[in-house]
Symmetry: C2
Subunit: 333 residues, 2 copies
C-alpha cells in the first residue's frame, strides 16, 4: 500500500463551514486515490455532516478542535491565544510533519500570520508570497504577491518570480512559463522606483523565462503566466478583477431583463452564458497558495463551496507529488 498524501483541512473556516468543507473533503477522496484528509474542528458537527455518506473511512479522519478563529479577530493575537482552534491545530500538523499541507477558508490574516509563524519559512526565503491563480482568456495566470506584507524590495520580487515559475511549471503544468512584471507601460524605461530596480534582476535571472513588463490591460488577455508585483498592487489587481467582473455581470443581467424581448432572449442565452462566466470564475482554481513555507498553506475564498475545497485538496496533492518545496530549496537557497 503506497503512503497517503496527508492534507489538513480547517473544517470550521469560511462562510459555509463545516458543511461545504466536509463535502469538499468527500469529493476529494472520491476523486483522488492517494490523499488522506484530516478534518480539524468540532468533532460532533463534522460527524453530523459525514453521517450517511459513503466514503473510504481510512482516508478521512477527524481531529477535534474546541475553538474557532473568527474573521474579525486580530490575526497575531488569535494565532497566539487560540492554540486549540481548528486553524492552529491544522497548521501544527504541517509543522510536525503529519500533513504536507493545510487548507483554510477562514480569516485571511490568521492564515497568513499562522503560516509564517507556525509552519515557518524555508531557510533563505525572505518573504512567503500569497499567489492566487486568476482567470484569463486563455486559462489562468499566477498573480504573485497578494499577501499582507506590502512595500517589498527588489530581491523579494525576484524570489516571487522564481517561486512562481516553479509553481506554474510543476503544479499547473505550463512549460517554460512566461514571467512578466506589472508596469505602467511596456517600454523598459517605464516604472516606479521598485520596478526599475527589479527589472534588471529579472532580466538577468537564468531560471525564468522573463518577457519584460506587462500592462494591467494585458493581464486578463493571458499574455503572461506569472504576473510579478508587490503585494499592494497585487491586492488592487485581485480585488478589481472581482469588482469589475461582478459589476459588469450585474449590469448585463439587469440589461437583459429590461425589456420583454430581451427577457425571452435571456432564457435562450442563459446556459451558454453560464458556462462562459464559469470559466472566468476565480473559485474554479482552488484557492491561493502561500508559498515558500516548510509545507504548503492554501487560503480559499471565505465563500468557498465544496468544489473549490476539492480543487484545493487536489492542488495540495500535486504540490506534494511534484516536490515543489525541494525544487524551491535547490533553486533559491
Amino acid at each position: 500500500m503506497p503512503a497517503f498524501i496527508n492534507v489538513a483541512l480547517d473544517a470550521m473556516g469560511g462562510d459555509n463551514a463545516p458543511r461545504e468543507i466536509v463535502k469538499g473533503a468527500l469529493l476529494a477522496v472520491g476523486e483522488c486515490d492517494n490523499v488522506k484528509v484530516y478534518l480539524t474542528g468540532d468533532k460532533e458537527l463534522i460527524e453530523k455532516e459525514l453521517r450517511g455518506q459513503a466514503y473510504d473511512t481510512s482516508r478521512i479522519e477527524i481531529v477535534h478542535a474546541a475553538e474557532v478563529i473568527e474573521t474579525a479577530e486580530p490575526p497575531v493575537m488569535a494565532i497566539r491565544k487560540k492554540k486549540d482552534s481548528s486553524l492552529v491545530i491544522g497548521l501544527n500538523m504541517v509543522k510536525d510533519g503529519t500533513c504536507s499541507a493545510l487548507i483554510s477558508a477562514g480569516s485571511t490574516g490568521a492564515v497568513l500570520v499562522g503560516g509564517q509563524v507556525l509552519v515557518g519559512r524555508i531557510k533563505g526565503i525572505k518573504r512567503p508570497p500569497l499567489a492566487p491563480l486568476i482567470p484569463t482568456e486563455t486559462g489562468a495566470s499566477l498573480l504573485i504577491d497578494c499577501g499582507a506584507n506590502v512595500d517589498a524590495r527588489p530581491e523579494h520580487l525576484l524570489q516571487f518570480a522564481q517561486i512562481g515559475a516553479i509553481y506554474m511549471e510543476h503544479v499547473v503544468g505550463i512549460k517554460k512559463p512566461k514571467v512578466a512584471i506589472v508596469n505602467n507601460g511596456a517600454e523598459e524605461e517605464k516604472g516606479n522606483a521598485l520596478v526599475k530596480e527589479t527589472f534588471p534582476l529579472l532580466k538577468n535571472c537564468p531560471d525564468i523565462n522573463f518577457i519584460g513588463s506587462i500592462e494591467a490591460r494585458d493581464i486578463p488577455a493571458g499574455k503572461a503566466d506569472v504576473i510579478v508585483c508587490e503585494a499592494f498592487v497585487g491586492n488592487v489587481i485581485l480585488k478589481l478583477y472581482e469588482g469589475v467582473g461582478a459589476t459588469l455581470i450585474k449590469m448585463i443581467k439587469k440589461g437583459i431583463m429590461s425589456t420583454t424581448r430581451a427577457k425571452i432572449g435571456a432564457l435562450l442565452v442563459k446556459p451558454a452564458l453560464k458556462k462562459t462566466l464559469k470559466a472566468f470564475d476565480t473559485e474554479e482554481y482552488g484557492g491561493a497558495p502561500l508559498l515558500g513555507l516548510n509545507g504548503l498553506v492554501v487560503k480559499t475564498h471565505g465563500s468557498a463551496k465544496a468544489v473549490e475545497i476539492k480543487n484545493a485538496v487536489l492542488q495540495c496533492v500535486q504540490f506534494t507529488e511534484q516536490k515543489i518545496n525541494e525544487k524551491i530549496r535547490v533553486k533559491l537557497t
Copy 2:
C-alpha cells in the same frame, strides 16, 4: 454678444484624425452656443473634412500646423523640437490666453509633458494629476492620479484629493463628493507606507468629504466619487478596468454565439445589452483632464471618435464657466 469660450483642438492627434476630431468639433458647436473651437493641424486636410458641412463659421477656426507628433516619439524631445506641430501650437494658445483649454487624442506622453512644460503648473501645485472619469454601477468616479509621474509623496496625494473634489463638485455636479484613498483593506491600520502617511492628512483636511479607505473591489460599485491614488496604482486600475471589461465582453459574445439556441437569444438580447455596455464605456466621459495647470489640458483616448471629442469640448466649457482654476487657486495655494 457674449464672449466665446475658446477651446483648442488638436485635429491631427489620435487614430481617427482628422476626420473624427473635426466631426467632434462640429457636434460641439452644434450643441453648445458659446464655444469656439480652434482646430490646429494641416489646413488642407481639415478644410476637406469641413467642406459641405453646415455650421456656424464664426465658431470654428483653423490654425495651420505643419507638423504632427507621432505616438512613438520620445515626448520631451518631440515637444522641444516640433514647435510647429498641432499639439504644441494648441498648447501655446492656452499658454498665451487665446484658449482656455486644449484637447488632444495624440501621444499621452507628449500631452502630459507639453501640458506641464508649455502651459505650466498653477503656482503652489506640486504635481498636475491626470484624472479620468471611470464608469461605475451608479455613474462615474474620478480616478486621480493616472499620470506619468509615479512614486508620489503624501502631500501630492492630499492635493489630488482637494483638486479632485473641486472637479467632481463643479464640473460633474456632485454635491460634497465622497473622497476615498485606494487601500489593501478597509481598516485604518492597513496600507503601504505611502497610504499610512497620507491617511491622516486626508482625515484632517477640512475641504473634503473623506470617507476613508476604498478596496479596489468597491471601486466599480461606485462607493466613492473621488478615488485618490498614486499614479502607478492609478494606471493599474485604469488599464485593468479596460482589460477585464474587454475580455469579459469578448468571452460573453463568444459564449452567446456558441449554440444555435443561444444565437437566437443573442439577437433578442442585443439591443438591451448594447445599451447597458454603453453605460460602462469609458469613452462616454470625454477624456481625462490634466489638472492643476494654468489652463486645462484634456487627453482623450487615442481611439476617440466624434462623440468623445464633443464630450471633451463640453467638459472644457463647463470647466471654464465654473472657474475651476480660480477655485483651485483659492483652496490650495
